[in-house]
């Protein structure tokens, strides 16, 4: 018996390629439809469709395995399709800057959720301070740009290093505290950072920082429209592509770590700390490492956010932001890269679309989250076992 080793893959590479292309196009079409949807009925209809989709996946897991196997069978086709979809999306959206804005925010949240996934998903370490790392990234880069006229590209690594340092600092207590107690330590760090940003004079206090200049690349300012082959895209498209690039970086980082001994060590300490130590794993170091990697990636997202919105305030980096990121990881599926990204998109776009319910959307959001955790605690896409060699 081979166990779940070789999921049902389609017979020929051509069939796999067709499945790979069609499934991704379907996903993109759905995303487009829900972004375009306006008014309660359309949104309700699309959400019902989504629910039906997940129900079918739950009922017939072979379907999901089939698609996954197809995607894995023809990696080049999969990646080419993904690249075309991502690159082409702004052309489809055209001049609708609101949709582009939503996509940028969703992508930044996807990066944040992937960052948190190293801890929460891979190692099951609570961290309610991802919002703070995000904020540190945003503030460090904004301050450098405003006070020293540094370019976006230079502030990016500096902000990431600063946040990583913060990650190491919040990671240290994780050597001694666990679970609920550790959760409180991270909450405390998050509140301290947010309160300090809110009170220091040089961070602009509650008013935050205004007038962060748009970055430019090879003389092209990100504040001006993007022209490609005669197509004119709104200036948001610059940031759309920038954040898409960051998502790619985050995915590659996540995949490489997941497939290395580091990902395995995190999984080991998640399952059983004492057994992990007996295998020679320096559990304390790996925990701190998870905090550092999380902060590092979150800072990138923060920097892009600051330069995109050009105005940041402490309200952007509250405890609730950290909880939202956490919810994205749990809803999407812990330790499942694809799931986490879906979770981030869903939870970014959903509240916006619930505008149809105007004032009630936060209430609705809370109810949906609770309901989801009760009905499907393992997330939309639960973690999968690693496959090696011929089994990959």
């Amino acid at each position: 018996m081979g166990g779940p080793a070789s999921p049902a893959a389609p017979g020929s590479a051509v069939a796999a390629a067709v499945v790979a292309i069609l499934s991704q196009l379907c996903g993109a079409a759905f995303l487009y439809a829900i972004l375009k949807a306006d008014g309660g009925w359309e949104v309700t209809g699309l959400l019902t469709l989504l629910g039906l989709g997940f129900f079918l996946l739950e009922r017939y897991p072979a379907m999901g395995d089939f698609v996954t196997a197809s995607l894995a069978r023809v990696p080049l086709v999969t990646m080419a399709t993904a690249a075309i979809v991502v690159l082409g999306f702004p052309f489809l959206v055209g001049s609708n800057t609101y949709i582009l804005h939503l996509l940028i925010v969703a992508q930044l949240y996807a990066v944040l959720a992937l960052a948190l996934n190293f801890q929460l998903g891979s190692a099951n370490i609570p961290n309610f301070a991802t919002g703070a790392s995000y904020g540190i990234g945003a503030y460090v880069s904004a301050l450098l740009a405003l006070n020293f006229g540094m370019s976006f590209w230079l502030t990016l690594p500096i902000a990431a290093l600063a946040a990583t340092l913060f990650g190491f600092i919040i990671g240290v207590p994780s050597m001694r505290t666990r679970d609920t107690y550790l959760a409180l330590v991270t909450i405390a760090f998050g509140v301290v950072v947010q309160q300090l940003l809110n009170n220091f004079e040089w961070t602009g206090g509650p008013n935050g920082l205004v007038g962060i200049p748009a970055p430019s690349l090879f003389g092209h300012s990100f504040a001006s429209p993007l022209e490609v082959f005669g197509w004119k895209l709104p200036s948001q498209a610059n940031f759309y592509y920038l954040s898409a690039a960051l998502v790619v970086v985050a995915i590659v980082t996540a995949q490489r770590l997941h497939r290395s001994r580091i990902g395995l060590a995190w999984n080991a300490l998640r399952a059983d700390e004492i057994a992990a130590k007996a295998q020679g794993i320096n559990v304390a170091w790996y925990k701190v490492l998870a905090f550092a990697v999380d902060a590092f990636l979150a800072a990138f997202a923060g920097t892009i956010y600051a330069f995109y919105i050009s105005y940041i305030s402490p309200d952007n980096f509250t405890f609730l932001v950290s909880v939202t990121i956490m919810t994205m990881v749990i809803v999407g599926g812990m330790d499942n890269i694809f799931g986490v990204i879906v979770g981030a998109f869903l939870l970014t776009i959903l509240p916006e679309k619930l505008r149809a319910f105007s004032d009630y959307r936060l209430l609705f959001f809370g109810v949906v989250v609770i309901g989801f955790l009760m009905i499907r605690p393992q997330g939309l896409f639960p973690q999968r076992l690693r496959q090696y060699g011929a089994h990959r």
Binding site: M1, R256, L264, N267, A275, K277, A278, Q279, G280, L289
Partner: protein, 261 residues
């Protein structure tokens, strides 16, 4: 033969409870020591002190010429002591194969930067691990290899025991501590386990083994060096014959049997 592990006057107290009382023993390279004694005698505590899970209240543990008393467990593992747990602590949501690969943690080197920027190197290391892990899974009795893509938590009891041993061996230890490896095995499986250990010793003559066992048939198979612990103290040590004949040992076991009757 030279001494590999030396436990010197180790005492372990938990509050008022004395779990180990001035225990001293040594084991040579390439030999097997069987530790017997009634439940709660302190046998597992001994393992936990040797592997650094507990820091002894007094006494010293010398491994391979180095004082490892109170060193953190991961460091002890890095120095070459592998172990299994009485309650078999597997990484139950990971595959059988991943469990063994994690056992190779001390033998692999990839750091964060390597993993991120030299994926080829990291990938080759992982591929080598997979190969070695598959070989280890094929080594012993049972059909772990065929089950290598199953979550470890779904294995049958005997396979869980075997997997824990395979995981401990993956680090190529100099000393392996087996905490009641035959628990949950039937007679045939126990015999296979004994055969596995014997074959392991013949293939790795340098490897030392300490066994905690209740099943006397297993102990009988490794009769050269047996130690009996009761109430945290070493009450007898020597060959299986001498230990079995020792009056205090009989008392410890009979007393327990009488209490059960």
């Amino acid at each position: 033969m030279s001494v590999l592990l030396k436990v010197d006057n180790v005492t372990m107290r938990f509050g008022g409870l004395v779990a180990l009382n001035d225990v001293t023993f040594a084991i040579e390279k390439g030999s097997v020591l069987a530790v017997i004694g009634p439940n709660g005698a302190g046998k597992s505590t001994l393992f936990n002190v040797v592997t650094g899970v507990y820091k002894p209240s007094s006494g010293r543990v010398i491994f391979d010429g180095v004082d490892i008393t109170g060193k953190p467990p991961y460091e002890v593992a890095q120095r070459g002591i592998g172990r299994t747990f009485q309650s078999s602590r597997l990484f139950s949501d990971l595959s059988v194969l991943d469990n063994v690969i994690i056992g190779m943690h001390t033998r692999t080197k990839t750091g964060v930067l390597d993993a991120l920027f030299r994926p080829g190197k990291s990938g080759r290391e992982m591929a080598a691990c997979v190969e070695k892990a598959e070989a280890l899974l094929q080594f012993g009795s049972g059909d772990l290899f065929e089950q290598r893509y199953r979550p470890a938590g779904t294995l049958a009891q005997a396979d869980r025991r075997r997997l824990e041993i395979a995981r401990a061996l993956a680090s190529q230890p100099k000393l392996i501590l087996l905490d009641e490896p035959s628990v949950g095995m039937d007679d045939a499986e126990t015999d296979a386990l004994v055969a596995d250990i014997k074959r392991l010793r013949s293939e790795h003559p340098e490897l030392s083994v300490i066994l905690i066992e209740h099943d006397m048939r297993v102990v009988e198979a490794f009769p050269e060096h047996v130690m009996c612990i009761d109430y945290g103290s070493r009450i007898a040590e020597g060959s299986f014959e001498t230990v079995r004949a020792d009056s205090r040992v009989q008392e410890a076991y009979l007393g327990k049997a009488a209490a059960h009757a």
